[in-house]
Symmetry: C2
Subunit: 294 residues, 2 copies
């Protein structure tokens, strides 16, 4: 049984980015994080992203706005980041307050600076296999994790559990791309599927993003299969100082008894998402530099 070490693979990628950033001229890539309000998870996610940036030599800055900022004001702030030539990437951290139209805010970021890959144009490009766009970080991270673990998807039964716009749909599209890490025979199942276990048991590779802790149990897995667990769920654990611990959508302890490879939570897909964000920022920078000098 192989434990797919997302943390290690993400570190390898960050090192490659570090080397590339070091070779750049005086101007360095810069990503701006936009946070509205004080959601503890958002604070923690952005702290991780800022640390990863610092590690690679990518400049990051965080703009924090109060919970009660109006959508119009926020759009104005994003507009000035769009116009700022020294900002190459912009990430608006979800969730936004209820009084905002999240899609309108995400779409206000210039597609060329949308390193999160949430802009409608970048989703369309992902569907069109147009590599000039930015693929959303989590789906791109899943494919990269498979690639660097030597797990090809071509011609294999790949099952995606969950159909969210953030993970399920885009990773499904990527799995249908041409190439050894596409070309999958793809099945997407979800809460409306009659017998989820019947579907997941046929999965040579199972990608789980349903957002329910320990949803996938041993009997739902194909012996010898590969599991990529995208879920991050808090469950109470009074033995911990924090009072909780993080678990995936898959019951890891059960799964390790039957599968050939699995990603842990934490330390699987999570770090890959952050690494892909840095890769997208570097790409945004290179496209921009190229654009202004040509």
């Amino acid at each position: 049984m192989k434990r797919i070490d997302g943390k290690k693979i993400a570190l390898d990628i960050l090192e490659e980015i570090t080397a590339e950033v070091a070779r750049l001229g005086e101007e360095k890539p810069c990503v701006t994080f936009v946070r509205v309000g004080d959601d503890p998870a958002s604070i923690s996610y952005l702290r991780n992203k800022g640390r990863a940036a610092a590690k690679t030599g990518i400049i990051s800055e965080q703009k924090v706005f109060p919970e009660f900022i109006s959508e119009a004001e926020l759009l104005g702030e994003i507009e000035s980041l769009n116009a700022n030539p020294s900002v190459h990437g912009i990430l608006v951290q979800a969730p936004l307050p209820d009084h905002m139209d999240e899609r309108a805010v995400f779409n206000s970021v210039l597609p060329e600076k949308d390193v999160d890959g949430f802009h409608t144009v970048n989703i369309g490009k992902l569907c069109q296999e147009d590599s000039t766009g930015f693929a959303a970080c989590t789906p791109a991270g899943i494919i990269e994790l498979l690639k660097r673990s030597g797990i090809t998807t071509e011609g294999r039964n790949v099952v995606v559990l969950g159909r969210s716009l953030i993970v399920g749909k885009p990773v499904s599209l990527l799995l249908l791309n041409k190439g050894s890490f596409g070309n999958a025979t793809l099945t997407v199942c979800h809460s409306r599927t009659k017998d989820i276990g019947e579907v997941t048991r046929r999965a040579d590779i199972l990608i789980v993003a349903i957002g329910r802790g320990h949803f996938v149990t041993r009997d739902m897995l194909k012996p010898g299969g590969v599991v990529i667990d995208v879920g991050i769920n808090r469950i109470r654990d009074l033995s911990r100082k924090s009072g909780y611990r993080l678990v995936g959508d898959v019951d890891f302890e059960e799964a390790v008894q039957v599968v050939s490879a699995i990603t842990p939570v934490p330390g699987g897909v999570g770090p890959m998402t952050v690494a892909m964000l840095m890769q997208n920022t570097l790409k945004a920078f290179k496209n921009r530099t190229h654009g202004s000098t040509s």
Copy 2:
């Protein structure tokens, strides 16, 4: 065995559109077809589209350019159609000559006039379940055909054979939408799938868009299943005056012996594509009218 009469259903839709167009004021919806060169299939497709428009009271006009027109010139022509307020919809008929970047040309049409649904923004909106966009006509026609035949996809095993950007991928995304005619347990298989028959035999509903005449044979079908055949292939038939006849991707004569419902070729999905184009044109007109009066 039910023969799903796409021609009849498309006529019903065109009648509904006719009634709605009649109720409009003096200004009527107008769609412009752009054709480059004299491909016989393109001429025939546009003739059908023009006839359907005429039937509903939608104005259509055709702009024909010579094969050797440069991409820049064509983009200029599209630009002036974009700027023309009396043109509500624009359709650039594929295929374009080899010296053109098809995607760049399709993306030069304003998204609000892209009644074909090929613009990157409209593909992104389809993926995001954003109904302000235009869904590509063939995938939208397939879903409408199922709806009007009372064939729900919710919780059923729906298999899409083919992963093209024109049909396979967008219809797959629509099948994952919320609702009775979404919510499918979806499998996408294609030329790289190891055993296509093994997958298609599990299909409660099979949508075939692989572009190979009579590819799907009786032994690949689930008894009692539903088949939607998107293929249109010419095969030699010397008993016909034309010397050929059109067949689908499914061997119809074999399939009717086992399935519960099937679309014929011609007279299945084809007419639905044209009806959806008219529906998109009406939508473009209504959005535009609304936009200019509000």
